[in-house]
């Protein structure tokens, strides 16, 4: 990065810390900031600081929120007897955007991954078990990803809730809508056959 003044080099370095952003892209982003107005740059810097200042974890479901409790947990129209367990806020948003679920959520903020040193204590598991014990929860939907880690996490939650008076379900895996059997990978094809249901 020779030729760039120190503040520009520092900005490129900071921007390179983003996942998936290499030095070339970071340089392009830094150039944009250089040529953008002071007001627009200040708005970006301020939005970064605002998020760190204002965003907390919902005290009930650990979704990201401004207040003590998130919009969903504070919505009295939601079905409070169903909890959908997800890995992260992005999964929650994906389910919300489908418009197909009217219950509550619980965000684990990760999945079991021994290779990465992520054990049960790194996830919001204790809080999930406590929620179910303290409330009239009829069903727990396990909506972690269909990955090895997502599956092992779902298995652990099932074990932790053994003996409790609650139905545990897992979201369906199979051929996505619009998918073509000819192009689907072998594992997905296997699951589609394995989890076939009655007509």
């Amino acid at each position: 990065m020779t030729g760039y003044a120190a503040p520009i080099r520092r900005l490129i370095q900071e921007l390179s810390r983003f996942p998936g952003i290499g030095e070339k892209t970071a340089t392009r982003l830094a150039t944009f900031i250089l040529y953008t107005s002071e007001r627009d740059a200040a708005r970006l810097a301020e939005s970064i600081m605002e998020v760190k200042r204002k965003i907390r974890f919902c005290s009930i479901c650990f979704n990201l929120t401004e207040g003590d409790v998130c919009e969903i947990c504070g919505d009295s129209a939601r079905d409070r007897d169903v909890i959908c367990v997800v890995e992260d806020p992005d999964s929650l948003v994906a389910i919300e955007e489908s418009g197909s679920f009217r219950g509550m959520y619980h965000v684990l903020h990760g999945v079991l991954s021994p290779a990465d040193g992520i054990g049960p204590e790194s996830l919001r598991l204790r809080e999930l078990v406590e929620r179910i014990a303290a409330n009239n929860v009829r069903e727990v939907i396990l909506a972690t990803n269909p990955s090895v880690q997502g599956e092992s996490t779902a298995l652990l939650v099932t074990k932790l809730l053994q003996g409790k008076d609650v139905t545990i379900t897992r979201i369906a895996f199979g051929i996505p809508i619009g998918g073509d059997l000819k192009y689907v990978d072998k594992m997905t094809m296997t699951k589609a056959i394995e989890f076939r249901r009655g007509m």
Copy 2:
């Protein structure tokens, strides 16, 4: 972006303003900021503001710099009788990083582009002509890009310096090192034949 608290939506919106950054990537970057430490987020925000506060145009060559004059213009070891004209600071950095040029630069901050409303007055052309008139400049190397706009800009500079006691040269176009004639586009091939030189 339903499901995200307002400060997060605002951050995603701000990040989407970057060129080449769509909503999905902006969301990924926002997520990174959410999970990064307050200190790291503050460092990023501060580096953005620092660049707007400290970076100015060099009063001699219009390169980006902290002081009134850039490192290159302030370097007495440079050849002051050659000026290399470039479109932008990135071109300057590219030439510097090749280590093949020891003269001075002049950054136009753009190229002629009537379609985009960029005329001669939008570029640092007047300042270039004044520099050449006021200093003992032996050669002006035109290093704008080999694009339609870069070529027309080079032509205009040549016209503006007509009659002045200075040699005007253009960087070479042709097959890049490591390139293969089989895969080079027709226009580059044409230029490589057209500008052939004696062995």
